[in-house]
Symmetry: C2
Subunit: 304 residues, 2 copies
Amino acid sequence: MERLPSWRDSDARDAILRFVDRVTDPASPDFVSVEKRIAVFDNDGTLLAEQPIYIQTLYSIERLRDRLLAEPELAREQPFAGARDGDFAAISATGIPGHLRLFGEATAGMSFEELERDVRAWFKSARHPETGVMLSSLVYQPMLEVLSLLRQHQFQCWLITGSSVDFLRIFAPLLYDIPAERIAGSELTLSTRHGADALELVRGSECSLINDGPEKVISIMRHIGGRPIAAFGNSDGDVPMLEWVAAGNGPRLSMLIHHTDAVREWAYDRDSDIGRLSRGLDLDADGRFLRADMACDWARIFPA
Amino acid sequence: MERLPSWRDSDARDAILRFVDRVTDPASPDFVSVEKRIAVFDNDGTLLAEQPIYIQTLYSIERLRDRLLAEPELAREQPFAGARDGDFAAISATGIPGHLRLFGEATAGMSFEELERDVRAWFKSARHPETGVMLSSLVYQPMLEVLSLLRQHQFQCWLITGSSVDFLRIFAPLLYDIPAERIAGSELTLSTRHGADALELVRGSECSLINDGPEKVISIMRHIGGRPIAAFGNSDGDVPMLEWVAAGNGPRLSMLIHHTDAVREWAYDRDSDIGRLSRGLDLDADGRFLRADMACDWARIFPA
């Protein structure tokens, strides 16, 4: 069977296949033992479309809708005014902290079980605000094939996301077959209390960890406890993670997904508030990373 | 082959075997799918002897020895004065935060690689301060058998420790075959900087997370993302974790290891600064947990 069938014959595809062969062939001088085969993936914009706004934020807006109309106080500032008005640009100008404020306000006090039920029910019928397609169909087929290839070669695949880990843990097992314990993301405050007859976890609204930029490197060490040998990202927030992985000894794969396809997806980089890629492109000019050019390198973007 | 051979015929042994059968027999009404078979273990006093003081602290003292003599300022307060004088009681009176201060001071600035080399070299010859046996021989054979039994039944076994995760990640793979990514512990500050030609992680001396008591429950949610079905602990710091696991739906196993054997190990509970067990015994009186009585239930304590 052809490997990575949705990738066109390209340097990026060659580099992935060569890397996998080098580290998994027992006869290779660069052979890596199974327990060290760790790959990390950003989520939004790397495995899944993120334009015009993160799926987490579409959910947050939906869930805050009634409250924003009933409580004008709440909508007095950004990103809440933007959420009330459906002004994605205003929300995105507040950056990842703003997106997390919306999610925190939308879900504080919900138990993990309630959140899971609610998000799953919403996701079953949620559609993209511009194209109308099901959100669940916006995963990138070429990246599903990378995940699958790595897993066939006994890699541990981890998700290192700037979105809330509570939110991603609901999707990632369904969309990517990545289990809950292999996801590190941004975190809302979490506390415990003694309930009626048992200890309960209480989800707060404040963000206690913004998992972006250098924090992604720290998260990897906190959760995985070592340096991965492969990393995939698409924005400046992923660049420290890609740099750190690339700086390890032995064969490494650090790949930037570049959003270049305005026809089949969205074309954006230096000027976008969502998934800005500027420093990453500068570093890439030194040949420090591999780059997947979505328009050129991907024969297909979304699953059939 | 006999299961749990180092356990005497006892309620505790029966309870473990019955639990494993109930959740893993496909014909059982209480069958639990493989991905939900998660067990969590405290380390010190649950898998490994912790008297008269934690192994992490023996290492910290050893590493601080020269500095404490050269810098009298440092040893002016506890737990540093105790570290200089070998006064374990004075150190332990400062609680888990004090033990972590020693470890932070002893290892700040060391890279993860340096720490690993140094701890491994020390551990090869480190001996118990009272009995003189190798520290590595102080693991509990009956608990190694529990780990092994659970793994045979496709459980994920996690270590949830109040000691530093940086320290435990060096031992746990060797002693218990628990991989680095399945360990959550107390944390020192961690930051990133741009080094000569790459991003570097910098280990600080301050404690940013004390993984004890309710924090263990929060850590489990942060790292695992769901409620385990089995938990093993030995001190009041483990009780919230045991309560939370016990309060889940379906069959659950929450077990307290009770240090009752003054001849073969150490006997201590309500009055000990290390591994105090007081609230746990009160709750246990309600039958909320299972209890393993080391003197009665364990035929052997340490490996041959």
